[in-house]
Amino acid sequence: MTRVFVSRDMASVALGADDLAQAFARAGCEVVRTGGRGLFAIEPLVEVETSEGRIAYGPVGPRDAAAVLDGTHANRVGVTAEHPFFARQQRFTFARCGVIDPLSLADYAEHGGWKGLEAAFRLSPQEVVDAVKASGLRGRGGAGFPTGIKWQTVRDAEADEKFIVCNADEGDSGTFADRMLMEGDPYCLIEGMAIAGHAVGAGHGYIYIRSEYPFAVRTMRDAVARSAGRIAPFTLEVRVGAGAYVCGEETALLDSIEGKRGQVRAKPPLPAIEGLFGKPTVINNVLSLAAVPFILSEGAEAYAEVGFGRSRGTMPVQIAGNVRNGGLCEIGFGVTLGELVNEIGGGTASGRPVRAVQVGGPLGAYFPPAMFHLPFDYEAFAAAGGLIGHAGITVFDDTVDMARMARFAMEFCAVESCGKCTPCRIGSTRGVELIDRIVAGAPRGAGMLEIMPQMRNARTAARTQDEEIALLRDLCDTMKFGSLCALGGFTPYPVLSALDHFPEDFGGASALPEAAE
């Protein structure tokens, strides 16, 4: 019986993978459902097991089964891994994703699973922490804080109970790596969490998944149940969010797990010292934890060998937006932005010139092609006024209106703000109103109240466009330096980068230089 492989990843299913799988089953094939390979342009994708390896066809539909099985279908991709989109990748974390049956413990073990955990058990907890430090792994959620140092803090904290919390509240638009990993290789995350538990002395872990990921929730719950014996005495449970973006902020996430209103906590105390239920807690992103099994099984050096500057190892970059080859590209740090967009991503889907790329999700900065030389590296992006974040990149062609994008950033912040701190709570709403006036080229005149004779201190003269833009910059300043968490703090990145790089979109006014300090 011919074995074929069809993805059960949510994106593949959305494109018709379930129908495809049924068609092949009807055709008498043994259909193995795998995770997603990560290139959406060739989905729905089917891979046929042959003596030369798995031969991929895509996109294909249910009616194409016969043509695929006799090898005549026009959309023959060939050996999947040899496709240019995959050829340049360095799949450390996503090695199994799209290859194995995600819930098969046998598949997982056959493809190198549990080796990291076994290696960790052979080491002392401190040696595990040391290995993670030596790997140079940094938090993949966006902040880029060295994972080993975080683990060390939790390990050193004295407490009767500690926790491992996995942040799977992947809320950035245009990002999907966490979801793909949880749906495609859940045991990898479980293994990483068990290693973390061993390293810091935590007995229990939580995986906090956003409610918009029903497939991931189901797969993770199933995987946690099946692997319970394998990771014992470490235990895990899955918690589902309730639709608040801000719960992806680590302290709001902890409040949410505790059953409280998901609101950002002030730091200190750091969660590593006083985290979940007041206990020392490792809170890491899915990708950070999922990188750990590789580090333990292949060695910290193998991981650290790849990378650029202080950014070591690989990053699962998620390419989305107006781009030909949207998908997941795990690659060593140092690849340039231009390579990602044009070479791996293949330029815009519309065929028009790229005008802007937003890196790091909805709170990341917009870069024009003039900055495509930037190497993918935490420090390089920070120096350029941006951030890597969770490594989502969204491509826009030359029809984009950047003032609208700046407004969208403020609006996003206003919608998602938890409302705790003032700059984010009120500032984002004022930001939307202000950008609307700027875009309309209609600076604010004196209001009804301000012209009342009782109001002697209010200015009655109308404001100029330059003054309104200066106010927008001041507002961004207040939000950036005054906000309690990254939601309000990072919202200025897209706004200011749009203003700086695309001033012509802002009501025709010249962008003002950065306000002198």
């Binding site: 200190p268 206003a414 984002s428 004022r430 109103e433 106010l471 001041d474 005054g482």
Partner: protein, 946 residues
């Protein structure tokens, strides 16, 4: 005292080792864990702030308090950033000014601008901060999206919530969570739509809010503000004084505008309440100005005549001449007096002095007779002191808290909040109560064990706990050996070990599952510091004194006396019931609990007062009433106690009073007892006099006069007038002189005087040469009596038993918004929460009788009958009914019997066998009593003055 706000350090005090840093170049040394904000405040550097206040944990939301720290990037919030050694902080710079102004600009872009007509004008932190950051222009304008359409919630009788003035700093929410522990408030919605919501978006009145006022106090603007401030304006002076409600003894700043009280604000420095309050102390002081208050003395020939207003001279002369006449005709012991636990120590002392020195007998008693007299007896017998062993702060160190026969969230709400805070921190709770009180399960609190015993079986339950502790080897033997009388222990241990005392043996009797009782006993004995808190559910039984001693036995056996976090803690009812007892209000005791037969003690007084004192104990209240019906007791001076309503078996009390020839009542109002009075002397409120109250933790605190007595005299002055008229040579010009006399004559008060009290704020007795600063924790190295005394507490069932005619057990209690007989709280807006007493009855018992929720029911016992409305709830177990006794119309004490504690005569209020049946309206007693009360309260208009 002029008006200054209490200094706000922004964040709570920390306790770590000293850390040095510089703030704006100034060297500061503060405890580790202190926030930068607090460290700055300690050297008078004010960092702008809105969401921070030192009664609440830091929150970090307003972002006004940003500072610069050398070597750190960004602008950390000074409220949430702890100090570090060598840290160099800058609190002012151009950059910070710009950021703070930016934040303030956002606030004001969504805030009403009519400051001058705002209730908080001049007392608004938002206004202050706008000034401090130099806000001059709101560049966003005032026409953006806003919250100015919000509706004001005026449902609470004492404060308003105006969402348009809310800056969403969450101080109210956090105060409700952290300080009060009710968690009634929340932030609803998120982002720009965030707003404060009471419960599930209800009005404050209909929400779970208990109106403690913590949110109002925490609010930095006028979003939450007292209605009196809106009405009167901001205060111009403040006087620190002590609350006159319960035995917690909260201290308040009485904030005044001229002679008018604007508001009572709990004092942060108050050692009993640490800046917290409840709905009574905080808001329910309007009775002091109530139109029912009697301001002129009144007399009448007989109780069926209307009252006539007379001059003070005439009233006092009548009291003196009648008392002397009665003594002449019926003997020196034919008259007596009752001191008031509501009055000051000084006033109480004077009343008992009047009796002992002026009346020449010991016929003095006090309302503690009906509440905590068993505490005095039981703790004196076992430990050697008639008082609790701890201060309230001790609860911070408790690991296991056993609450028995007390309902702290209603009766002692401010202390309950402290207790709940400790429970939220992880201490374990055991509740022993027939009723599922709020402490059993409330937000973030769940009792480890609730032992719902049948009323009247306290001793059996406590002895069974002792059985478990002794037979399972959980006794702290070292402690018992070193600290206690080992012979007494051995006898007690043998007694409790008998199989008949085991939880299994008493299970049917008490209704408490043996397994739960065993587990609770183990937890008490082995859970770390274990503290017992109890109330009238312990004392008001025929075995009240035995129960107190059974509690003391448990504490001694487990080594839980003599340090922080443990102890035996009576939650005393009245504001000064401890003080009234301390001051010699009992017929057998001189001040400081010295027996009148003790000739050394007596001679001390005799020398000071220049008279010889009767060495025989006088009559207790029930004995006075019995003697009156027998014709031997003829006259009584009752200061500030309504025995007709508060003492058991009302008909018997009424008969006793009616049999007397001269009943003198001094009170604020024509209370129920005054229906039987011949002379009425108007009393003064706690706002109108100087003095001291002593709370449940033996803490002596000053009561300060904030306004002139509306009736002309403070109560101590009235007693002095009576004394003068009876020929006594008293020359007090200020209560401090009375305290000096108390100190002179009472060893445990030797070091107490007003100068020290004013300087230290409060003192916990004993205060003497051995403990010049007072004694927060008693019995530290040894018990006051020497060795701790174990007392065998055999369970003797009460004679009050259920049977076919009276199949249910009635127990009584209080509710948060009302206070005891309600004389004060019924004359405030607190009636909005509790306008009548209701009978709680289990659904099964209600169904058997065809009673529906809200129906009128008759409540009948061997003693009498009354009617009230039913409330059906499973808070009470089947077979048990419960009511409060705040309303004279209900007259719960018509039902209660005259059974009482074997040792002290404390009435058995908590167990009465009753029957409950549907009813159409008031009982005969209620009808006739109401008619008589109305007739008896008639006042003839005074004749016009010349």
């Amino acid at each position: 005292m002029t008006f200054t706000r209490e200094k706000d350090f922004g964040t709570p005090e920390a306790m770590g080792a000293a850390v040095s840093l510089t703030i704006d170049g100034q060297e500061v040394s503060v405890p580790a864990g202190t926030s930068i904000m607090r460290a700055a405040a300690m050297v008078d550097t004010a960092i702008p702030k809105l969401c921070a206040t030192d009664s609440l944990e830091s929150f970090g939301s307003c972002r006004l308090c940003l500072v610069e720290v050398e070597g750190r990037s960004g602008y950390p919030a000074s409220c949430t950033t702890p100090v570090a050694p060598g840290m160099a902080v800058r609190t002012q710079s151009d950059r910070l000014r710009k950021l703070r102004r930016g934040v303030m600009e956002l606030y004001i872009s969504d805030h009403p601008l009519d400051c001058l007509t705002c209730g908080a004008n001049g007392d608004c932190e938002l206004q202050d901060m706008a000034g401090a950051v130099g806000l001059r222009d709101v560049r966003f304008g005032y026409e953006g999206e806003n919250h100015l359409e919000g509706c004001k919630d005026e449902s609470n009788p004492y404060f308003t919530f105006d969402p348009t003035k809310c800056i969403v700093c969450s101080r109210c929410v956090r105060a409700c969570d952290e300080t009060q522990g009710t968690l009634a408030l929340t932030v609803d919605g998120r982002g720009f739509a965030s707003g404060i919501s009471a419960s599930q978006d209800e009005s404050f009145l209909s929400s779970e809010c208990v109106s403690c006022g913590a949110c109002v106090q925490a609010c930095p603007t006028s979003a939450l503000i007292e209605k009196t401030v809106i009405e009167i304006g901001t205060p111009d002076r403040a006087v620190v004084t002590t609350c006159a409600y319960c035995g917690v003894g909260c201290t308040f700043r009485a904030e005044m505008r001229g002679e008018e009280l604007v508001r009572m604000v709990p004092w942060k420095e108050g050692k009993a309440n640490h800046g917290h309050s409840c709905v009574k102390g905080r808001f329910a002081w309007g009775y002091a100005q109530h139109r029912d208050r009697i301001l002129n003395p009144m007399m009448r020939g007989s109780v069926d005549e209307p009252w006539r207003e007379v001059s003070w001279e005439a009233a006092i002369a009548r009291v003196a001449s009648e008392f002397r006449r009665l003594q002449k005709e019926h003997g020196a012991r034919a008259i007596g007096g009752i001191t008031s636990s509501r009055c000051t120590n000084e006033e109480t002392f004077l009343v008992q002095k009047l009796v002992r020195q002026g009346f020449g007998n010991n016929n003095v008693d006090t309302c503690a007779r009906v509440c905590h007299s068993p505490t005095g007896y039981g703790l004196k017998t076992t430990f050697g002191t008639s008082a609790g062993t701890q201060d309230f702060d001790s609860v911070r160190h408790a690991d296991v808290i056993l609450v028995i026969g007390a309902n702290p969230t209603d009766g002692h709400p401010v202390f309950a909040s402290r207790m709940k805070k400790r429970l939220r921190e992880g201490a374990k709770l055991i509740v022993v109560d027939p009723r599922r009180i709020d402490m059993v399960r409330s937000p973030h609190i769940e009792a480890a064990f609730h032992l719902p015993l049948r009323p009247g079986t306290n001793v059996a339950v406590l002895t069974a706990m002792a059985h478990v502790i002794v037979t399972e080897g959980l006794v702290n033997e070292t402690y018992v050996r070193e600290r206690c009388d080992t012979d007494a222990y051995a006898e007690w241990a043998e007694f409790v070990s008998e199989p008949a005392r085991s939880p299994e043996a008493v299970e049917d009797l008490t209704g408490v599952p043996a397994a739960d009782l065993r587990a609770a006993a183990r937890l008490y004995a082995t859970g770390g510091n274990a503290a017992i808190y109890y109330g009238l559910g312990v004392t008001e039984h025929s075995q009240g004194s035995s129960t107190v001693m059974a509690i003391a036995n448990l504490a001694m056996a487990t080594g839980n006396v003599g340090k922080d976090g443990v102890g035996v803690n009576p939650l005393r009812g009245q504001n000064n019931v401890q003080g009234a007892c301390d001051m010699g209000s009992f017929p057998h005791e001189l001040s400081g609990y010295r027996h009148v037969s003790d000739s050394a003690a007596r001679s001390l007084f005799e020398r000071d007062w220049g008279v010889s004192l009767d060495p025989e104990p006088g009559l207790r209240i029930p004995n006075m009433l019995d003697a009156a019906t027998d014709g031997a007791f003829k006259g009584i001076f009752i200061q500030g106690e309504d025995i007709l309503q508060s003492d058991p078996n009302t008909t018997h009390v009424a008969a006793g009073l009616a049999a007397m020839e001269c009943v003198v009542v001094q009170d604020l109002f024509l209370n129920e007892t005054a229906n039987y009075a011949h002379v009425f002397l108007p009393g003064s409120t706690f706002l109108e006099k100087d003095g001291t109250f002593t709370n449940a933790e033996r803490r002596i605190q000053r009561v300060r006069k904030v306004m002139e007595p509306k009736n002309g005299y403070a109560d101590w002055e009235v007693v002095q007038l009576v004394a003068h008229a009876m020929g006594l040579d008293w020359n007090y010009t200020h209560p401090s002189q009375i305290m000096d006399e108390i100190a002179r004559l009472t060893p445990t008060f030797a070091g107490v005087n007003y100068a020290v009290l004013d300087q230290r704020g409060s003192l916990q007795w004993p205060v003497n040469a051995a403990a010049p600063e007072g004694t927060p924790t008693m019995h530290i190295d040894h018990f006051v009596r020497g060795k701790g005394n174990f007392v065998v507490t055999d369970y003797v069932p009460t004679d009050e038993r259920t049977g076919p005619r009276f199949p249910l057990l009635l127990t009584t209690g209080r509710i948060l918004s009302q206070y005891n007989v309600g004389a004060q709280t019924r004359r405030t807006a607190n009636v909005e929460w509790h306008e009548e007493d209701r009978l709680e009855i289990h659904p099964h018992d209600a169904e058997n009788r065809g009673i529906r929720d809200g129906n009128w029911v008759s409540l009948r016992s061997r003693a009498g009958e009354t009617t009230l409305r039913a409330k059906i709830t499973d808070r009470v177990a089947p077979g048990v009914v419960y009511t409060t006794f705040h309303h004279p119309d209900t007259q719960a004490n018509v039902i209660t019997t005259d059974f009482s504690d074997w040792a002290t005569n404390c009435p058995e209020y908590k167990v009465t066998a009753v029957q409950v049946m549907p009813s159409n309206g008031p009982s005969d007693w209620q009808r006739s009593y109401r008619a008589q009360a109305e007739a008896s309260r008639r006042i003839e208009p005074a004749e016009p003055a010349e």
